[in-house]
């Protein structure tokens, strides 16, 4: 089953003619994804990796029947690309772009909260998602994954690859791996993905990878306590980070004493989650 994307997902690549877009289109195709075309304004009519390029998402959807997109356009154009994808009625939009100004993202976020919108947005500033053996929307290296029953949700990029790689090496395959991104206001949060994993018959166990800053992991803990029946293991990065300093991700900053690893780990433990001190412990915690 998996969540969010599978082999039937028809994917557009927004910004397909850029360096990143081209490279990852090839990667996505190699890892089984049904890429049906791409969009770059002004380059309609070209071809990339054998896929047609369109000027607008609207045209691309009309002609290819795409129902999802991955956005690789640079930060300043990312919000416009997200609005274009949402207004074209896509079910799933994965925005890799970074950096996206927070204010731009706020507009997108509040637009999505309106009732009429049916689009699920992942990102921005995220590695995207990987349903091993079926589809990859984004930049998670396809080789790290392996089909199975562990759902992974994470704020991070390479740390996620590590954990997924370790899971695969330990024989624990994944249903879907979702990188929600490290920005303060992501399109989709932990709780929403946890709910999907809880509802997904293929997923048996869940791994959550968080970091300092904000309250997302606390909300996740509250949700897990109340609503999750499947076992969850977690790791929270940033135990050694000093308050008031941004650690790479725009969201990874301890402000006003809020958002420390201690607080988050405590809340998760209280919700019955097995919390790792070291990400290499995670496969062991799932046994």
């Amino acid at each position: 089953m998996a969540i969010l994307a599978d082999k039937n997902t028809k994917v557009l690549v927004q910004g397909i003619t850029g360096r990143e877009g081209r490279f990852h289109t090839k990667q996505m195709i190699e890892f089984d994804t049904d890429v049906v075309g791409g969009v770059t304004p002004g380059k309609g009519g070209e071809w990339v990796e054998g896929k047609p390029v369109f000027d607008t998402v609207k045209q691309a959807v009309e002609i290819t029947g795409a129902n999802a997109s991955v956005i690789f356009v640079p930060g300043p154009g990312a919000a416009d690309a997200m609005f274009e994808a949402i207004d074209a009625g896509l079910d799933l939009v994965v925005c890799i772009s970074d950096p996206v100004p927070l204010w731009d993202m706020l507009k997108v976020f509040n637009y999505l909260k309106r009732a009429e919108s049916k689009t699920r947005l992942i990102g921005p500033n995220c590695p995207g998602l990987l349903t091993p053996g079926q589809a990859k929307l984004g930049i998670i290296p396809g080789v790290v994954g392996k089909p199975g029953s562990v759902g992974v949700v994470s704020k991070s990029g390479t740390l996620t690859y590590e954990v997924v790689y370790a899971l695969s090496a330990a024989g624990l395959g994944q249903s879907t791996c979702v990188g929600i991104g490290g920005d303060p206001v992501p399109g989709t949060n932990f709780v929403e993905v946890l709910q999907m994993f809880e509802d997904d018959p293929q997923t048996e166990k869940v791994v959550l990878i968080g970091e300092i800053g904000g309250r997302a992991e606390i909300e996740a803990a509250e949700f897990i306590k109340k609503h999750m029946t499947k076992p969850v293991a977690a790791f929270i990065a940033g135990a050694s980070a000093p308050p008031g300093t941004r650690m790479g991700h725009a969201g990874a900053i301890i402000e006003g004493g809020e958002g420390t690893v201690e607080q988050k780990a405590e809340a998760l433990r209280e919700a019955g989650v097995r919390v790792a001190e070291n990400p290499e412990q995670i496969p062991g915690l799932l046994r």
Partner: protein, 387 residues
């Protein structure tokens, strides 16, 4: 990016928020000239990008010319939490009748800006939140509609502001919100917003944090960055496109990806903390790992004289780990570091990468199979215990 008090108040003033008429001085003589312009008494305030300057003696009221000379002299050059004071703001001293807290901040969960106010101004808001949470009033703002007039009245009413000041308060709140939006801020704070004995409302202190992701569209603000207030290595890293934050430990870290970089730091602390060993820095080298970028990162890490060992942790995903290993060796030979370096390569072709490192037979260059092993080795090396 954090702005200095005088920079924040400059932006406030431009948008129509009343601020004191003071100016910035870098020498005692300049401070005297400003004090003469605005008249005694004056407040002399250290301009440093950290809290707690009041307790550190960085804010003084001077009532005589001698006091101006004395306090300006003391504060300029003072150290506050590792930062040298290069500038002071000389403001007229206000006659304060009431102190209010007013800020616009971001509520991540709601995805909305929020106007925060309290009748308990002049102290840290975290302190108020702790001691008297009911004194903090929050009014959420629809980012597509902005702050309505009626919302500022709801807040003014809730903090029991005398009605004579509602209009001025509303104007300041709306302008503070505009200042937030127009400058892509993630925080604009006035603390305290005072009512003077003369019945005027003035923003006595100001704080602004700008969204780094949006700095590209605010060249004027980006140019305000105070390089003297920042570690020199951080400046160089930013110019090289590397995310680097100097910390106080002994193990230099070089990692690809922010989450993994934090994790690597955490591991050094996990295994070295009991011996007082920890990370010397956060460093995210970004995607790929070309030799020249690795070399630049190595130089930045080694510019910190506290560094006793270096831990390089690279997850080879789409870039293969064997390629990364070759880049590492090239960079190593360029920089020729004089402390032990532990390299841990993971992901695609990690075994081949490790072999390349081992085969290179470079003294002080050690491989590790797991992050745990790498962190433990780095801690040993920092203690001088790695052969």
């Amino acid at each position: 990016m954090n702005l200095h008090e005088h920079q924040a108040k400059g932006l406030f003033s431009k948008i129509g928020i009343p601020v004191p008429i003071g100016r910035v001085a870098t020498t005692v003589d300049e401070a005297l000239v400003i004090a003469q312009d605005i008249g005694l008494p004056v407040v002399i305030k250290a301009q440093v990008l950290t809290g707690g300057r009041g307790k550190a003696g960085g804010v003084k009221v001077a009532r005589t010319w001698d006091e101006v000379r004395e306090y300006a002299g003391k504060i300029l050059g003072m150290m506050i939490k590792d930062l040298i004071v290069h500038k002071v703001l000389v403001d007229p001293a206000a006659n304060i009748a009431q102190e209010i807290y007013l800020a616009v901040a971001m509520d991540r969960q709601a995805g909305r800006p929020v106007l925060i106010s309290s009748s308990e101004g002049g102290v840290e808001i975290e302190q108020v939140a702790h001691d008297k949470p009911e004194a903090i009033i929050r009014e959420y703002i629809d980012p597509q509609l902005g702050l309505h007039d009626y919302q500022t009245r709801n807040v003014a009413s809730a903090i029991n502001l005398p009605r004579a000041h509602w209009r001025a308060f509303g104007d300041i709140a709306r302008n503070l919100y505009r200042c937030y939006v127009e400058n892509d801020a993630t925080l604009t704070e006035i603390n305290p917003l005072v009512i003077t004995n003369e019945g005027q409302m003035v923003a006595l202190d100001g704080k602004m944090v700008i969204d780094d992701n949006a700095l590209y569209r605010h060249k004027d603000i980006a140019a305000m960055r105070d390089l003297t207030a920042e570690d020199e290595a951080e400046t160089r890293a930013r110019e090289a496109g590397i995310a680097y934050v100097k910390l106080n430990g002994q193990i230099g870290c070089m990692v690809n990806g922010a989450g993994l970089a934090m994790t690597t730091m955490d591991m050094t602390k996990l295994y070295g903390g009991a011996d007082g060993i920890g990370p010397a820095n956060f460093l995210d080298i970004g995607g790929g790992a070309q030799a020249d970028k690795v070399a630049a990162a190595l130089r930045i890490i080694l510019s910190d004289s506290n560094v006793r060992s270096v831990l390089i942790n690279i997850f080879g995903g789409i870039t293969r780990a064997d390629e990364v290993a070759r880049g590492m060796i090239q960079a190593y030979n360029e920089v020729k570091p004089d402390v032990p370096i532990i390299i841990r390569l993971a992901g695609t072709n990690a075994d081949e990468g490790r072999e390349i490192i081992n085969d290179a037979q470079i003294p002080y260059l050690f491989g590790a199979a797991t992050l745990t092993e790498a962190a433990q080795k780095a801690v040993q090396a920092a203690k001088g215990a790695l052969a």
